[in-house]
């Protein structure tokens, strides 16, 4: 009996062990390390703790401030929140977040409702609408950088539409660059949202809308009172993915503007990479990473608590099914 028990344990270890090892060593551990590094002033090269500091600790039993100047406590955090560039970066993340929810969401739902019917070329349409999503952010970003060059494709397109005169410098004007960024991101991600919504709409039984129409409901009333509520779970999940994506925005910005001009399109992640990689300030960079993580975590938990609860049935707390 106990050998059977042992065997089961061995099996569990054998099957789950490798994944758990990889995951803990390369996902959890670095995040813990980030929290540790974030209270030091450190360039990532020498030892984290000054050797003389450790010796002093061994001798005196306490960390003398003069010996341990690499340990700075919460200084990195106060520095971050005092830096207008970083606060601006947080603002940019939330601007994209808000615009995505307010514009991309309704746009995608509207398109999905329109396209959710038997029509010619539907398969092709679904294929084409998804193209921007499969391209990497790097390639899509570079493509848009080329399109948005002065007098290039985008400006010419505006000419055709009847925009006379000067066009803004889309990616170089600090007042405009975030809106341009949102335009590119919408181009890249609205197809994904539409596909999600269309998949969600397939789960809405046709009989319900038909019954409503027989009862005399208009097309709009049917969508508003039957289809949209039943699409709720899909919309909420999309919104969750969109929120998380907006907070972690990096690739697109880094490729198109590197956060410039003059940090006017910086996000938390580009700020973090700039600090940690170009300026070698690992301690400060990881403090920014921790702030990014905590903001995402709080929003995710609040969102899950209030919006996703019924959909996930506690999947992330392990009680689901």
């Amino acid at each position: 009996m106990s050998s059977k028990h042992l065997r089961k344990r061995l099996e569990i270890g054998f099957f789950a062990g490798p994944a758990l090892l990889f995951y803990v060593a390369l996902v959890i551990f670095p995040i813990v390390l980030a929290a540790v590094y974030s209270v030091f002033r450190w360039d990532g090269l020498g030892p984290l703790l000054d050797p003389t500091c450790i010796e002093a600790y061994a001798a005196n039993g306490s960390l003398g401030p003069n010996y341990c100047n690499r340990f700075v406590g919460i200084e990195n955090y106060t520095r971050a929140f005092a830096d207008p560039v970083f606060l601006g970066a947080i603002g940019h993340n939330f601007l994209i977040l808000g615009l995505s929810l307010l514009i991309q969401g309704p746009l995608a739902i509207g398109l999905a409702l329109l396209l959710n019917r038997k029509m010619r070329g539907r398969a092709l349409l679904r294929l084409l609408i998804f193209i921007p999503y499969v391209l990497s952010e790097v390639v899509a970003g570079l493509a848009w950088k080329l399109l948005l060059m002065p007098n290039a494709g985008f400006d010419t397109f505006l000419d055709v539409l009847g925009w006379k005169g000067d066009k803004p410098n889309w990616l170089a004007d600090p007042d405009i660059v975030m809106w341009t960024m949102f335009l590119i991101l919408t181009w890249k991600y609205v197809g994904f949202a539409v596909i999600l919504m269309l998949a969600g709409l397939q789960g809405v039984p046709e009989e319900l809308s038909e019954a409503a129409q027989i009862d005399g409901a208009s097309w709009w009333q049917t969508q508003r009172h039957i289809t949209l509520p039943l699409l709720g779970p899909t919309i909420r999940i999309w919104a969750f993915l969109s929120i998380i994506g907006s907070l972690q925005l990096f690739d697109m910005v880094w490729v198109t503007t590197k956060g410039g001009p003059n940090f006017s399109s910086a996000t938390m992640a580009t700020y973090l990479v700039e600090i940690g990689s170009s300026r070698q300030q690992i301690g400060y960079g990881t403090a920014v990473a921790v702030i990014l993580f905590v903001i995402s975590l709080i929003i995710a938990l609040v969102y899950q608590r209030f919006a996703l609860n019924r959909d996930l049935e506690g999947a992330t707390t392990g009680k689901g099914r």
Binding site: A19, L26, I129, V139, G153, G191, L241
Partner: protein, 291 residues
């Protein structure tokens, strides 16, 4: 003839009414998605001189030398970078599918105390973006001597792809009837035998889905290669395609035609792969969302 055309129209008036608008909207969407891509591809057939004279225009005459130079030029890095991307993506896919299905098997079909904790630990990983971990991770990889190598990409990518993989696979493996397992056990098969001979073959579609997702994500990855290869000091011939195309566009920014051609060529693998695996990607994404 008359009856077949009028019958559906009278039964569903609104489609007849809305159809032109729908097709118009569909047309606008298609133009919005396809035209920018086509613009890049077509302008790659112009010379830099033409591009400087008129930034937007039709190739006149069509010049094939830029594409030829990027593809077959003596010092072109396109093929080696595409090769690196392939190696890294295949390695990541293989690793994440193998370790992912093993862990999902335990979570889905074993009863033990820490099971829910294990599941929660992996699902929480959805909230750990690689950007939060990147600075310590890159220092770790440097210490381990993995900077600049494909393993420095594959190993962390496997780890970061595990949460999605496990979340998709667990319900999939749970759905396989308990009776099958009982029957296999009665016939004298061990749990491991059941895993190999029954569960794995039955979960083929699920494995393909998570595999395709892992492949695409690895193929498109930028931040990790930026640190591991870019800052890690690897030569450009060891770059992956996203890193390579970005490097090319900075290094040869005055060679607009070259940048356009390189960017177009970098699009092709993803587009090809996507057309082949479209159903799997869409199915996987919507499946992941329905969780």
């Amino acid at each position: 003839m008359a009856t077949t055309t009028t019958a559906p129209v009278t039964r569903r008036r609104r489609i007849d009414f809305g159809a032109p608008i729908v097709y118009l909207v569909a047309l606008i969407i298609i133009s919005a998605t396809v035209v920018p891509v086509a613009y890049i591809v077509i302008n790659g057939f112009r010379t830099t001189k033409q591009l400087n004279e008129a930034p937007a225009g039709w190739p006149d005459p069509w010049t094939f030398s830029t594409y030829g130079r990027v593809l077959f030029g003596q010092d072109t890095l396109f093929w080696s970078q595409a090769g690196n991307s392939t190696v890294v993506a295949l390695g990541t896919t293989l690793g994440v599918v193998i370790f992912g299905v093993m862990a999902a098997f335990v979570i889905a079909r074993y009863e033990f105390k820490a099971r829910n904790l294990l599941y929660a630990l992996f699902t929480a990983g959805l909230l750990f973006p690689i950007s939060v971990a990147i600075l310590p991770l890159s220092i770790m990889l440097k210490t381990l001597g993995l900077n600049g190598s494909v393993f420095g990409l594959i190993i962390p990518q496997v780890a970061f792809a595990l949460p999605t993989t496990i979340i998709i696979l667990v319900p999939f493996l749970r759905a396989i009837p308990k009776e099958l397992e009982d029957a296999a056990l009665i016939d004298g098969t061990s749990r491991i035998g059941f895993f190999w001979r029954i569960l794995l073959p039955l979960s083929g579609p699920g494995l393909v889905t998570v595999g395709v997702l892992a492949f695409v994500n690895s193929w498109n990855a930028y931040l990790l290669p930026l640190f591991v290869l870019g800052a890690g000091g690897a030569g450009q011939s060891n770059y992956t395609l996203p890193l390579g195309v970005q490097q090319f566009s900075t290094q040869y920014s005055s060679d607009t035609a070259g940048v356009l051609a390189f960017t177009s060529l970098a699009m092709i693998p993803a587009l090809l792969f996507f057309t082949l695996a479209e159903r799997r990607i869409v199915g996987g994404l919507t499946g992941a969302v329905k969780g």
